[in-house]
Symmetry: C2
């Protein structure tokens, strides 16, 4: 690789998510050379992926070119690459574009969908952790509706219209709400010759309540809001298998659907070379309160991939953006301190609360002191998300789209740009493309 | 197929481009059942594809859902399908979703890229006639720059940065200008460690001038504007072959480039079943001045696919949007007249003029009486294009993007959402993805 040689210690950051960007930003103007590696050339604003999947936003307004974010940063390099492995002994990483040495390595690779080894789910369930995956869902939903028009088999037609979402965290709840709004406001106009009332939206959750990480009050309010949108919520229900047409649950229920969206689990994805004893449940990397990877020197992990246990969070911190950002900011401070031979400080998470939207005028917000819901919560949700988006143009585009969608009950990004073909469907009859 | 039976004569329109949409729109509220068939579920505003290819606009702002355009139209059906063949004897068409009968058939299938049978071009040159193809170009340009960073071979680095565009019609001219602006305003900031001055943009044209369909004055002005943008224009030059790395011309020149964009030829693409004697040069279908396909009854062709010769246009009309729209409008009128047993009228093309933009503040416009260029021409170009876009939201998004790009010298859609892999490159070293 063609990295200019400078005499600064080199910090290599793997992953341009919330944590990775934060580290790079905070190390600016400090005596480090920073190299950021990502497999995409853009940062993905993951909290709004579900709106891309449901035709409410175009993909380009939630992606932002990484090179543009750090335009003009000195001693900074971005490399579009995938990291295969690390060798902490000799302090190098092996990537798809060659070997790179580091002085300090920050693993901020985040998390990916976890199908828990279930082959049926891997083959047929739709994950939603990246923009291409969200676009696949957008295409599949629309393709299935086009196909539903063509069949005279009522069971098959319903399977094409039905959607099953598994996992009632914020992603699952927001998706169910958005798909339910598609059913209410868009699909009856697009498909007047289909009886859209026969379409069901099911939300399946293994635990006893939706939004399990929020307050019981928020869970209850979200559940009521989902019910008002005619989302069928199945609590204490675990999915056992899916063959592309039928979802089977452990308690013997069956749901006919050609669209199963899996938001029920994530796992850490770390490069080879992290010692097995430093990996814990869910593929996360165990770190101490300085984000140092257990058993390694000068290797750190922050964000979803890192499992840092504290008194308040004995099983690790929640895998959310605010933890990632705070850990990254804290690590940057510690690295700067280290460079000046000052003591590093242990991390303390300042929980800003949690929120989720269910749909038009419907959201729940848990703050330290206040819990609220409804239209005001929904405005707060929108404001917080717009503020966090990177770049004025993206903020503007998202706000215009939201205003348009709100005023006109519109979802105008319902385009099948790249038709989705399940590789496991190769033997099926070809779809229109 | 599940088409409701009604007792109206059925007009089947193949293709949702400018001509196809116009026919459907004009037949509204007239006693016809109209079925529109397209392989995409959206209309593509082709004149702005080059801005998608060059990261200036997001794809969703130049695509518009067809079902939404005709929301609330009665006696209208849209079907997402590809048409394989027609059988004019028994008045049916065979599609990817089944057999469909028609009373009147309108072929509005437009045109596709013509590589004139050259295998090297088919394998390695980039066409740009659809949104996925424009996105492929966007990805390839960006991937090549990422790759250019990694090589220490100067020749190879230049080949990765260089772009060759073949064909100096409006598409080729607009693309060269836009890529040249990327080189000037974006790439030096994104890639400070690359010497972007070594990047060349070549525009190759077989004829003696750029914009051959416009006035000599416009050609000359466009040529000067291209030169000011440091586009190297090669007139009277024909491309002979391309192997993915080296472009060879008939007069023995060679250009090293990994990106060849082919805007040098189109051909009509018509379903099987059109009699061979009705097909003319470039795969177009010969029609009379009533748009009736030669030798067939009740089969019409309009737009790019149709070759209608008149006194003013003995070799057929130009393959441009205004011809497509006027022919479609005229055919709709004739079909309505036919339904009332009135005489059909022969088509007369009212040429509104032509225009092309080269870049920031640079355009050329030829009207009946006036020819002009520069900043005013550029404003006219933008206005005309925004007005023609379908839907208020798309107009608004495009205007905001243009304002942003103008004020900030920005191109913020430079995202590699789906990396482009040339199928012919399968044996090459894998690119970062």
């Amino acid at each position: 690789m063609n990295i200019p040689e400078v005499n600064l210690p080199r910090v290599v950051v793997i992953g341009g998510g919330f944590a990775g960007l934060q580290i790079v930003r905070r190390l600016r103007k400090h005596p480090y050379q920073v190299v950021l590696i990502d497999k995409h050339n853009y940062h993905t604003f993951q909290p709004l992926l579900y709106q891309v999947a449901t035709s409410g936003l175009e993909p380009d307004s939630i992606g932002y070119p990484i090179r543009k974010i750090f335009e003009g940063h000195r001693n900074f390099l971005f490399r579009l690459a995938e990291v295969a492995s690390i060798d902490p002994e000799i302090k190098v990483i092996d990537t798809s574009i060659g070997i790179l040495r580091y002085d300090y390595l920050v693993v901020a690779t985040g998390s990916d969908t976890n199908f828990f080894g279930n082959k049926g789910l891997e083959d047929y369930a739709m994950p939603m952790k990246s923009i291409p995956e969200a676009l696949n869902i957008r295409s599949l939903l629309l393709q299935n509706f086009e196909e539903a028009l063509l069949t005279s088999n009522l069971k098959e037609r319903e399977a094409l219209m039905n959607v099953v979402i598994v996992g009632a965290g914020p992603t699952g709840v927001e998706l169910s709400g958005a798909i339910s709004e598609l059913r209410k406001h868009i699909l009856p106009h697009d498909y007047p010759d289909l009886d859209v009332r026969r379409m069901s939206v099911h939300l399946i959750e293994a635990g006893p309540r939706v939004l399990p990480a929020m307050s019981e009050e928020a869970s209850e309010n979200a559940l009521q809001a989902l019910k008002r949108l005619d989302v069928e919520v199945w609590l204490n229900t675990m999915v056992q298998d899916y063959d592309g047409r039928l979802v089977m649950t452990k308690d013997g229920r069956a749901f006919h659907t050609r669209t199963l969206i899996w938001a029920a689990g994530v796992k850490g994805v770390s490069p080879d070379g992290i010692p097995a004893e430093s990996l814990v449940r869910g593929g996360r990397i165990e770190v101490n309160r300085y984000s140092e990877v257990r058993g390694l020197h000068d290797v750190y992990a922050v964000g979803d991939i890192a499992m840092m246990s504290t008194e308040a969070y004995p099983h690790g911190h929640p895998m959310v953006a605010s933890v990632a950002i705070q850990q990254a900011r804290h690590l940057a401070k510690n690295l700067i301190a280290k460079g000046k031979d000052r003591e590093m400080e242990p991390f303390v998470y300042d929980n800003p609360g949690a929120m989720a939207t269910i749909g038009r005028n419907k959201a729940v917000v848990d703050l330290h002191r206040f819990k609220f819901k409804g239209a005001f919560a929904w405005l707060v949700w929108m404001l917080v998300h717009v503020v966090q988006l990177i770049g004025f143009r993206n903020k503007l585009l998202v706000m215009i789209n939201w205003t348009w969608n709100y005023v006109r009950y519109a979802r105008d990004a319902r385009l099948i740009i790249r038709p989705y073909h399940r590789s496991a469907d190769a033997n099926d009859t070809p779809r229109p493309s």
